[in-house]
Amino acid sequence: MDVIANLGRSSLNILRGMGAALIMLLQSIIGKPQPRKSFPLFMRQMYVVGVQSMLIILISGLFIGMVLGLQGYTILVDFGAEQALGPMVALSLLRELGPVVTALLFAGRAGSALTAEIGLMRATEQLSSLEMMAVDPLRRVVSPRFWAGFISMPMLALLFTAVGILGGYFVGVQWLGVDDGAFWSVMQASVDWRDDVMNGVIKSLVFAFVVTWIALYKGYTAEPTSEGISAATTSTVVTGSLAVLGFDFVLTAIMFS
């Protein structure tokens, strides 16, 4: 009986948490837009969330592309099919690695920072203080961060993919000697704009939504103590990464099967 009661209790808690997270999100993004006030805040968050994640994304993208080039070549050359290196690198980056690895890195880099920042604002009573000044912290603090995360992650994923393909090109063509023309033309023949590029972008929009939402909710509901904030930050990275991988499977099943 206890087992069933525990199961019921934890399911209810999860549902309650999801409901609270949904309400937080709706309250922060629905409402009369105030472009004059919110645009500078949004720009600042684009800088913090997007620009400051650019370096790690570009470097990781380059290395992952280079590894793909190297690994792909050693496998394909056994079948005499090294011409297929281009599509292999491009398709794996566009469909999977670009959106997924970007989302995982984003959860670790920007997501944890968002959680810690908002948790700290709660712990130092800055959020309460905003409320007492008759300024809605959801609109003021959560909303610009949500939009910045939601918009910048797909942008980062595109950068990651493009740089990764270049990395694969450098290793495959410049170093290992795959034919330059074949690399690009075979790639072009098998990569479809709508099926591959656009589906990748859609994936990364979904991941951006989920990861940013989790990060903000965890920060907003963090215990206002140092232990609470560190637990919330860890939880953002763990929950965010698992959610990305879970959604990736579902989306892949819908899009590419």
């Binding site: 130092t124 009573e125 800055q126 007492m132 000044m133 008759a134």
Partner: protein, 274 residues
């Protein structure tokens, strides 16, 4: 509510028969509190008795389970979100940590509520900011970032921000905690002078008896989930309740026992030995 001469004075804030729970813990059972307009009211009590909760009830950040919280004729718990935000423009709260926004300079912190709620041109806002900072003695520190300020300075800067919109009510949450004697003296002086010059109503939540009793016009003592005594400071010092006297005189034992509830000491020791 009567003052010393026996004539009625009007109350800016009035709590009647307030019950409040946090989770399953009962915080208040039938609290009544009057805050006279234009005076300094102190709310005192042992740690953990829910003094800060009182301020959050008045500010509408928490809702009581039952009872009425009245601010200038408005029932705070019954207001819609918009009405509540409108009402909050007339009150402000000085948080224990100061709660300055860490990503803005001191001047921008003070300017924030003005820019947020008025459409004044920037030059006028800057002038107001200078006046408010001058009032707390920090006009020279306007360009500093909050992390460059000492604890006392941060609290004064937060005070400048709290009075930026000339509120009717300021609530001070533990304003004296963790301050050295000099900055404590400065804050005591500021609270008193702001109250006199601006005609503010102030509520101080504190357990520093000497500083608080020194400046308060009206004191309420919370213990055992209720307001056990309220009145002018002098009247409370020789209050009939032993609990009030214990608290105000800082005696280690009394109605609030030194020992946490336990079974017989001797029995406990013998049981272990055996």
């Amino acid at each position: 509510m009567y003052d010393q001469k026996g004539c009625t004075v009007d109350n800016l804030v009035e709590l009647k028969d307030v019950y409040f729970n946090r989770g399953n813990t009962v915080i208040y059972e039938g609290v009544n509190l009057q805050v006279p307009r234009g005076k300094i009211t102190a709310i005192m009590g042992p740690s953990g008795c829910g003094k800060t909760t009182m301020l959050r009830l008045i500010g509408g950040q928490l809702k009581p389970r039952s009872g009425s919280v009245d601010f200038a004729g408005h029932q705070v718990p019954e207001l819609s979100r918009g009405e509540l935000y409108e009402l909050r423009k007339r009150m402000s709260m000085l948080f224990q940590s100061g709660a300055l926004f860490t990503d803005m300079s001191v001047s921008d912190n003070v300017a924030f509520p003005i820019l947020e709620h008025t459409k004044l041109p920037r030059e006028i806002v800057d002038t107001i900011v200078k006046m408010k900072l001058q009032a707390v003695g920090l006009r020279g520190a306007g360009g500093l970032q909050p992390d460059e300020l000492s604890g006392g300075m941060a609290r004064r800067a937060a005070l400048a921000r709290a009075i930026a919109l000339d509120p009717e009510l300021i609530m001070y949450d533990e304003p004296f905690t963790g301050q050295d004697p000099i900055s404590m003296g400065m804050i005591v002086k500021l609270i008193r002078s702001l109250n006199q010059t601006l005609g503010l109503t102030s509520i101080i939540v504190s357990h520093d008896i000497h500083e608080t009793m020194g400046i308060a016009d009206h004191v309420a003592i919370i213990a055992n989930k209720q307001v056990v005594a309220q009145g002018p400071p002098q009247a409370l010092l020789d209050h009939e309740s032993a609990l009030v006297r214990q608290f105000l005189n800082g005696e280690p034992d009394g109605p609030v026992p030194f020992h946490y509830q336990a079974n017989n000491y001797l029995d406990d020791l013998m049981a272990r030995g055996g």
